[in-house]
């Protein structure tokens, strides 16, 4: 077997082996209270999430993530473009924005809970608050830092303002914007779970919290695995999006030195 093939075998074999190990070990007396049998977790998972509690728990959580994320993207890109286009305004406001970005958004959750009350609105607001900064700062930075040659070309050819924004500035800034969006996505997921763990009436986080109160370990595990899966699926979707939007960027830098 060639080296490449054997490496590939290791790559696939090890995780499969680990899962299999957990599965078989858990049937024996090696299980601990806190790491229950994989079989039981799977049973709980199937009973709960396929598809009994999807409507009651998965949908609210996903709604919070998606709404908050979309709002933060729209707001972040809009404000970022404005800030990036007016360097003096940007310079003036920048310290405040840097401070807001450095705030641990998690620490703001209790404040938001009292501010808005326990509701979808609150969760969306918190997610937006957390996810806004990476996008906004990246967008404003990228818009302000558009290549001077690109700027000169647009001015020289008298390209109209709308075209300049949509066909020149935003595409030119897109690598950085997408990077910010990626961070914002992870932030969104984390924040929504935290706020659901603290206080909520429904949602995956709430489900896990309730399971903890009831000492239902398998239920907890099934919830945790579900979140991991959701995070994985969302990041894969994002990768597809990034792949499509930044195809030109990859091509350009793949041919770095001619």
């Amino acid at each position: 077997m060639t080296r490449k093939v054997s490496l590939r075998v290791v790559e696939v074999g090890v995780p499969v082996g680990l899962v299999a190990l957990w599965w078989f070990l858990s049937d024996t007396d090696f299980t601990s209270y806190y790491f229950p049998a994989l079989r039981d977790i799977w049973a709980s998972f199937r009973a709960t999430w396929l598809f009994a509690r999807v409507g009651s728990d998965v949908v609210p959580t996903m709604a919070g993530i998606c709404l908050g994320y979309v709002i933060s993207v729209v707001l972040g890109v809009t404000l970022g473009v404005i800030l990036g286009s007016f360097p003096r305004l940007n310079e003036f406001v920048n310290p405040l924005l840097e401070f807001l970005r450095a705030l641990p958004a998690i620490a703001a959750v209790p404040i938001f809970i009292v501010l808005i009350g326990v509701s979808l609105r609150m969760e969306v607001a918190v997610v937006t608050f957390a996810a806004l900064w990476p996008i906004l700062l990246n967008v404003s930075d990228a818009v302000a830092g558009v290549d001077p040659v690109v700027r000169d070309t647009s001015r020289s050819y008298r390209i109209r303002s709308f075209d300049r924004l949509v066909r020149v500035t935003l595409p030119s800034a897109s690598p950085q914007i997408v990077a910010g969006m990626r961070v914002a996505l992870t932030q969104s997921i984390i924040i929504i779970i935290v706020s659901e763990l603290i206080v909520s009436a429904r949602g995956i986080g709430h489900y896990i919290q309730t399971a903890q109160w009831n000492f239902d370990i398998t239920a907890m595990w099934s919830g945790m695995i579900l979140i991991g899966l959701i995070g994985f699926v969302l990041s894969k979707l994002f990768q597809v999006f990034e792949y499509k939007v930044l195809a030109w960027h990859r091509g350009l830098h793949g041919k770095a030195q001619r």
Binding site: Y34, L115, Q212
Partner: protein, 298 residues
């Protein structure tokens, strides 16, 4: 926790005599003194300190207006906050809470460095280990560590130990990933040079791999430090483990938003401090490796 590119150097500015600025009413018409005062004012108005000061005042004003308008006990007015600061900070309870948070953060971070960096380096250096762990690492890393909080609480209770373990788990991943990049990304040309000079393995490690890896590890450390703080405070809020997070939660739920806000601002300042300190460390490590700047986007 994405980095922003270094500030771009500004190009030469055209001659724009200060008096040419669209100045206030004194310009052009009045006597020399008025124009002189106006231009002098313009000169000072452009200075950094004044701008920052104006921003601060504007922010405080917005805060005050918002607090008065939204009078539902979520956050205090500027004045209440100011008095609360004096009260809270002077109590030992404040410093105890701060210590509990920082202790968990620091110990967990150290543990993450001791475990994450060597494993990461090993992954980067050895192709077999790399491939063996690739899928597992990717899968485990995708799970937000905050999700483990309920389980951790069951196992360890709302203790310092629980927080430390959580921080350790959360902070290990960025350190591991960055260390693996660092080991992998040693400049090919540098490696060839080292080989052609027949450097011993130890010397290679010392002069080639270590400096390159340290640049990446410094980035990983910065990312890990920020994550560690978030996870510490997050776990305190969710589980009511003692620390800053708990105090924020208590303050808000007991109708004492000014107290809560003092701790919230403390958390923010802590975050800022950690971010800037580790960014400085990173820049020191980067100083040797201009090529690393290209990786800033990760």
């Amino acid at each position: 926790m994405v980095d922003r590119p270094e500030a771009r150097a500004s190009s030469a500015v055209k001659v724009d005599p200060i008096a040419n600025h669209a100045a206030g009413p004194g310009d052009g018409g009045g006597g020399a003194t008025v124009a002189g005062i106006a231009s002098g004012w313009q000169l000072r108005a452009d200075s950094l300190v004044v701008r920052r000061g104006a921003l601060l005042i504007a922010s405080l004003l917005m805060w005050q207006i918002a607090a008065v308008a939204i009078d539902n006990g979520a956050f205090p007015t500027v004045t209440h906050f100011a008095t609360a600061v004096g009260e809270v900070v002077s109590t030992p309870a404040y410093w105890v809470s701060l210590g509990q948070t920082v202790a968990a953060w620091a110990i967990g971070l150290c543990a993450a460095v001791l475990v994450g960096v060597p494993i990461g380096l090993l992954i980067g250096l050895n192709a077999v280990v790399d491939h063996a762990t690739r899928v597992t690492v990717a899968a485990l890393q995708a799970i937000p560590s905050i999700v483990l909080v309920p389980l951790m609480v069951l196992i360890y209770g709302t203790t310092l130990q629980m927080k430390i373990i959580l921080v350790f788990i959360a902070a290990s991943w960025p350190l591991l990933m960055q260390s693996s990049y660092g080991a992998r990304e040693v400049d090919h040309l540098a490696k060839e040079t080292a080989r052609s000079y027949r450097l011993s393995r130890v010397d290679q490690a010392r002069y080639l791999y270590l400096p390159s890896a340290s640049a990446f590890v410094a980035t990983g450390l910065r990312i890990a430090a920020t994550i560690a703080l978030l996870v510490t405070i997050g776990s305190e809020i969710v589980t009511s483990a003692p620390g800053i997070g708990l105090q924020i939660q208590l303050g808000e739920s007991n109708g004492q938003p000014d107290r809560a806000f003092v701790y919230f601002v403390t958390a923010s300042l802590l975050g800022l401090l950690i971010a800037s300190a580790f960014r400085r460390i990173e820049r020191l490590a980067l100083f040797w490796h201009p090529a690393h700047r290209a990786r800033q986007g990760r």
